[in-house]
């Protein structure tokens, strides 16, 4: 059924279609309307779930972990400081191999306070063992939430579904909401192999000595490797069912491309317009959108970018003291290519704290890169630069 939905409502519809059984969340802008919609579904009886009100995000995830350990399909949502507060339990959820789905609406970290988007909140959780998937449209959000449960429950790893604040979370688009019967055929009820059972008491996540700890961690790594293929299969199966699939990476106009913009989230949609503009100007530009970030589809990325002249990675995030995080990841993946097929990789940090990234910005970035005018390795785009005397003063100190 076609509906006009903003990204946050698309999350809620996805969760409802997946028949989540326990929802525990704490409100935080710009995520709040996700759980408001879900609370309304539960209150109206449209979703047979227990909605647990908690006093913090830490408790929200703790409640989800408890319910998931008992074998329930669970959901939570958060943003920025809320995700940071969950951090201890983010690790726990992955270590306990719980197929939790969490929607994070990317919001810049404080201070200074910001409610607008950037990706540092979710990328700070990169090494926790969670899968991460960055969406670019409300339609993709609905579809990805349902897909995420299926993948998570197959490989027993939690998933973060990531949306940009406001550009996606609060922007309305026409969305085809799949029929419940279709989703039910796609996503069977959760049947967790090891779960809390009063008739079979046991210790979950108990003490593991050095002779075994590493094996459990290795199993997480193996599950991530397996998950790459499971994501492909699940996406394909979904495509057969509803006629929409997304891939792990999205390639746009890569034929004969020389300069390619690589990014994640909604700037990719803007980037497509910029690419079209450059193609009209006669510049062979293209675009790659990173959808699945963990597990990292390195082999697929190598295949797509092999032999191209240059890749500009646009990061709405930064690992301070080094590069943008996607920039580092792409660079490290492409190092596996033989030197003659390895493109130049340039980085641009842009749009932090919700600063707009326009078609003109992206077209200018691609143009400069194509002419060899974009500084390597990283450019902070559209930012006030230090004045001469300020720099001198800093050096003198």
């Amino acid at each position: 059924m076609k509906k006009l939905l903003k990204g946050n409502s698309a999350v809620a519809y996805g969760v409802k279609l997946a028949r989540a059984e326990v929802i525990a969340a704490y409100p935080i802008t710009p995520q709040t309307s996700i759980i408001e919609d879900l609370a309304a579904f539960v209150a109206k009886g449209e979703l047979q779930a227990t909605f647990v009100k908690v006093e913090s995000e830490h408790s929200a995830l703790a409640a989800c972990i408890g319910a998931a350990s008992a074998g329930a399909r669970v959901f939570t949502a958060t943003s920025a400081q809320g995700l940071a507060l969950m951090h201890e339990l983010i690790h726990w959820a992955a270590g306990a191999r719980l197929p939790i789905v969490l929607a994070d609406v990317n919001r810049a970290m404080a201070p200074g306070w910001s409610i607008w988007t950037d990706q540092n909140d979710t990328l700070s959780q990169r090494d926790t063992g969670w899968m991460q998937l960055y969406c670019a449209s409300s339609q993709e959000v609905v579809d990805s939430v349902v897909q995420a449960y299926k993948v998570a429950e197959k490989v027993l790893l939690p998933v973060m579904i990531v949306l940009d604040a406001f550009f996606l979370s609060h922007t309305h688009e026409v969305v085809d909401v799949p029929e419940q019967t279709l989703v039910d055929r796609f996503l069977p009820p959760l049947d967790l192999p090891l779960r809390l059972d009063v008739d079979r008491p046991g210790a979950f996540g108990n003490l593991v000595f050095p002779d075994r700890y590493m094996e459990f961690r290795y199993k997480i790594e193996l599950a991530h490797r397996e998950a790459l293929e499971v994501w492909r299969e699940v996406d394909r199966e979904w495509g057969e069912l509803v006629g929409r699939s997304y891939g792990l990476l999205e390639a746009y106009r890569l034929e004969d491309a020389e300069t390619v913009l690589l990014t994640a989230g909604t700037p990719a949609s803007t980037g497509k317009v910029a690419v079209d503009q450059l193609r009209q100007e006669g510049i062979p530009a293209g675009l790659v959108r990173l959808r699945l970030f963990r597990p990292f589809p390195a082999a697929e990325l190598e295949r797509l970018l092999s032999g191209l002249r240059r890749v500009v990675v646009l990061d709405r995030n930064c690992s301070y003291g080094h590069h943008g995080i996607f920039h580092q990841e792409v660079k490290s993946a492409l190092y596996e290519l033989p030197e003659r097929r390895r493109p130049q990789v340039l980085g641009v940090v842009a749009g932090l704290g919700g600063r707009d990234i326009t078609v003109a910005d992206l077209a200018a970035i691609l143009r400069q890169a194509h002419r060899g005018e974009l500084a390597a390795p990283v450019t902070w785009w559209n930012v006030l630069q230090p004045e001469e005397e300020a720099v001198a003063l800093a050096v003198a100190k």
Partner: protein, 556 residues
């Protein structure tokens, strides 16, 4: 023989079906939970020290007789108190914020009326003898507790029957005589000897009492009315309120003027006015301050107003107006409220030139009462332990503290009994006054009062206070039938179940459910903490709805 380890033999997450109890996590703690009953605000406020929440808990479980017995452990007149006590317990009740305070007085009244085997057995005879002067509430409470302690007790009282002011000053519409008679009978059945119509200083001397008894308790109360101190007050139609009330309550119906001014704002004034109304007189209450400053029990003022009795506030009598030998009015000075006085109430100040005459045929004074020390060795005074300067002589009730309520008198009687008991057993006096709450048979930390902020509201729903049934006004006037109607067993139990049980474990099991270390176990009548495994996280204390657990520092 070692076997080859295989990755697939490991579960996908660390899981063990072996217990973790061999890890003694209890060594990590620096605080630990302790099941410790705390004092609920009701019992903290109760002048008689009733263990309110525990008799409510017992009743909530359906054990009516058990609850009645618990109530009578030290309090001999709960049926009376349930009717006449201004229930200061209900003011600070934590339930007040969640639907309305528990109607403790209604439950106390119900339990007081429970018949059957409700009295504890006295301790073995000690051979010691105690004389008590005055059979009012303080004397009755002292007699009851000393008799239960195994002493021989005789009560000397100048009235025809025991009860003191309960009998001579509290009208039947508040306290039916049958109720009082039964409670006095129960005390007598224990072996307390009542010597009625014996006035100390007349039929027996105080010295004789001291010679014949090991201890003497003076509990004669306040029965002599204060005088008005205005011209005309010696007129025969100016009545002493206490005496008039005693006559009316004894069934006498003297010929009285049609319209009478009752001067005063205390309980005696209310009792006099409402009693006059019931014998066909039209009373008007004259009080020099306003309703807010009236020392009378608020509910009694409300009832009096509901019965249509007019109040003349901010009026101070200056003269009884007599014409041709008959009272025709009470001249009053209009007052206004000034700065607060020593009692904290705003002092009434005369308004110049505001004198007016309130038409009436008689005046009743109810300005407060003082002790009649005649026959006693002067004005006795006692310290906070109720011990006088005369060896073996003690005070109880209003003569000890002037607290002015029946309940305070009962508390005073209980405390003096404890002091006298230790005096009789060891000839030693306690260093300080005992607290009735500290005498309860169950263990309670009486210094830890449960504040509302200590309750966990996540587990407490608001439940409305039921209405207190009052007989319709038209049925009240013209008779002394009881105004407040009692509750059925079902109503009393339902109200008991509304009690939060502040500070008392009612085995709700929250602590057990929430303990993350499974370190709380059920034990006989409650729970125990497994100290070997409790890490001292405090979650049980936080999740206890009623503050029946507290954290204590672990000293190693």
């Amino acid at each position: 023989m070692a076997t080859q380890a295989r990755l697939r033999d490991l579960p996908y997450l660390p899981f063990s079906d072996k217990p973790t109890t061999n890890i003694k996590t209890g060594t990590w703690k620096y605080v630990e939970p302790v099941y410790e009953n705390a004092l609920p605000p009701c019992a903290h406020a109760c002048p008689a020290g009733n263990d309110i929440s525990f008799f409510l808990l017992t009743l909530a479980k359906g054990d009516v007789l058990g609850a009645a017995r618990w109530l009578r452990q030290r309090n001999p007149i709960p049926a009376t108190l349930g009717r006449v006590c201004p229930h200061p317990c209900e003011g600070p009740c934590n339930r007040a914020w969640l639907g309305g305070a528990i109607a403790v007085h209604m439950v106390e009244r119900f339990l007081g009326d429970v018949a059957g085997d409700v009295i504890p057995a006295p301790a073995p005879e000690t051979g010691k003898k105690v004389a008590i002067v005055g059979a009012g509430p303080a004397g009755l409470a002292a007699a009851y507790n000393l008799r239960l302690a195994g002493h021989h007790v005789e009560v000397f009282d100048d009235k025809p029957a025991p009860g003191g002011y309960l009998r001579t000053g509290i009208p039947e519409y508040r306290l039916p005589r049958a109720v009082l008679d039964r409670e006095v009978d129960l005390i007598a059945q224990l072996g307390v000897v009542f010597r009625q119509k014996v006035r100390v200083g007349r039929e027996v001397s105080f010295e004789e009492l001291r010679d014949s008894f090991d201890a003497v308790i003076v509990a004669v109360g306040l029965h002599r009315s204060r005088a008005l101190g205005i011209p005309g007050e010696n007129h025969p139609q100016v009545y002493n309120g206490v005496k008039l009330l005693e006559q009316l309550l004894a069934g006498e119906r003297p010929e009285l003027p049609q319209r009478m001014a009752v001067v005063g704002g205390g309980n005696t004034a209310m009792d006099v006015a409402r009693s006059l109304l019931r014998v066909g007189v039209a009373p008007v209450v004259v009080y020099r301050r306003t309703r807010a400053e009236m020392p009378a029990i608020a509910a009694e003022v409300e009832d009096a107003m509901a019965e249509g009795i007019p109040f003349e506030f901010l009026a101070a009598p200056v003269r009884v107006v007599v014409e041709q030998g008959r009272i025709v009015g009470l001249a009053c000075q209009r007052m206004t409220l000034g700065e607060p006085d020593a009692s904290g109430r705003r002092r009434p100040v005369p308004v110049p030139g505001s004198e007016f005459v309130l038409p009436c045929g008689g005046v009743v004074t109810a300005l407060g009462e003082v002790t009649d020390w005649e026959g006693l060795p002067g004005e006795l005074a006692a310290d906070s332990r109720q011990v006088t300067a005369i060896p073996g002589v003690f005070l109880a009730g209003d003569v000890a503290d002037g607290a002015g309520t029946v309940t305070a008198a009962v508390g005073s009687g209980i405390r003096v009994a404890q002091v006298v008991d230790s005096y009789l057993r060891s000839s030693e006096l306690p260093a300080q006054a005992p607290r009735v709450q500290a005498l309860w048979p169950r263990r309670v930390n009486v210094d830890r009062v449960v504040e509302f902020s200590r309750l966990n509201l996540a587990y407490l729903r608001s439940l409305p206070r039921p209405p207190i049934p009052h007989r319709p006004v038209e049925e009240r006037i013209g008779s002394f039938v009881e105004v407040v109607e009692g509750w059925s067993e079902q109503q009393a139990i339902a109200e008991a179940r509304r009690c939060i049980e502040c500070g008392t474990c009612n085995e709700c099991s929250n602590c057990l459910y929430f303990c993350p270390d499974v370190a709380i176990h059920r034990a006989d009548g409650g729970f125990v903490v497994d100290r070997e495994h409790c890490k001292g996280c405090g979650i049980c204390v936080e999740e206890c709805p009623r503050d029946a657990l507290t954290l204590r520092e672990v000293v190693r």
